[in-house]
Subunit: 221 residues, 2 copies
């Protein structure tokens, strides 16, 4: 009974996500859904990424949080538009919330649309938003066992960012364990090592964004 | 329609939680539900806490994770019993899962039962498990904005542990911001600073556990 309702919710979400995807494909932009635990560095990564892309590759950001507009305020200065979606008690963004926010966005001006999901390693994995690509962040302080313990999120990733790698010297973290666990759940997505603090690896992330945007534009044409 | 179903699920959960609570009150133990993001140090805290309590205050642990039995294996050596509950894609423990695990536990031998919830700052907040007390962990690397962004979890806490405080010197984290946000959502729960690595604050945490157990036993008598 409950399962059926949940399935209907997921089906309804997928239909709206498909409509979002069709809308986004009309423009030459890349929409990336960023997912991770709270505090693994999604907003900080965007604060660094967007100025590096610069005015030639304009960005907007949609941010999901239970409450507050702090993240939208943080990325606001760097973006064409920053939209905060407050989910109340909702543990993930839905395609409908994204559809409503898309209706208020000047998509024709954008090279990238970053959708920063609610900080949560479980629920966002099940909800397609209509994005072109999924970026999953794992921060060094969270520990090297998270891929094995939360495989559903990592399974669906198109790119995985190991963030806060500047803390590798301070904390007991074995990247090999992450690689071994990823070998079981996702062999497709590259694993990028980044530090928003030192700038390490941000070039690789920008390369990935540009390559993926070019591929999406090719597929949509 | 969906809301009604969700309400029914919550009502059914609360009824089972009440039965769990009645069962637990027959014994002189304290059941603590530990909740936090993935990787904020729940398991490591238990690895330190249980040996410090020692054989005079025996503990068992119930651990919720999507997959793997790693956490139960980690705390196993220190406990009377360690039970892993794999939730599959479930984003929180439910009272029914706890009830089933309680049926296999030797409750009469225990001073403490630690229930380590699925790493998630959103969903576990809504599901009473029948515990006596709720401990919410926030780790320094997650950032000082999490109370404001995820208030529902902190609202219901009986104690809040700021973990990994040995990283305060390395990271930009302002405890005053946490205190200010807590003043708005929860003025009841003490905020304890702990580091499982250096041992800082673990004495305060043990004091809190012993005091709370004594109070629970007094209330149950």
């Amino acid at each position: 009974m409950r399962i059926e309702v949940v399935e209907n919710v997921l089906k309804a979400n997928d239909a709206v996500a498909a409509a979002n995807r069709r809308l986004l494909e009309r423009y030459g932009l890349l929409a990336v859904n960023l997912m991770s635990s709270p505090g693994s560095g999604k907003t900080t990564l965007l604060e660094r990424t967007i100025p590096m892309l610069g005015p030639a590759e304009p960005c907007s950001v949609m941010v999901g949080d239970l409450q507050t507009t702090r993240d939208a305020e943080r990325v606001g200065p760097y973006t064409v538009q920053a939209t905060q979606i407050n989910t109340g008690t909702g543990c993930h963004l839905s395609a409908t919330q994204v559809a409503e926010a898309l209706g208020r966005m000047e998509l024709e001006r954008l090279a990238y649309l970053f959708i920063e999901n609610v900080g949560n390693m479980v629920c966002p994995a099940e909800f397609d938003l209509g994005e072109h690509a999924r970026a999953v962040l794992l921060s060094v302080p969270e520990g090297d066992d998270k891929v094995a313990k939360y495989p559903t999120l990592f399974q669906k990733a198109d790119v995985i960012l190991l963030t806060k790698v500047d803390l590798l010297g301070v904390l007991d973290f074995h990247i090999d364990r992450v690689r071994e666990d990823l070998a079981r759940v996702n062999t497709r997505a590259p694993l990028l090592r980044v530090s928003s603090r030192t700038g390490e690896g941000l070039g690789d992330w920008l390369d990935w964004l540009r390559r993926t945007r070019a591929a999406a534009a090719g597929a949509g044409a």
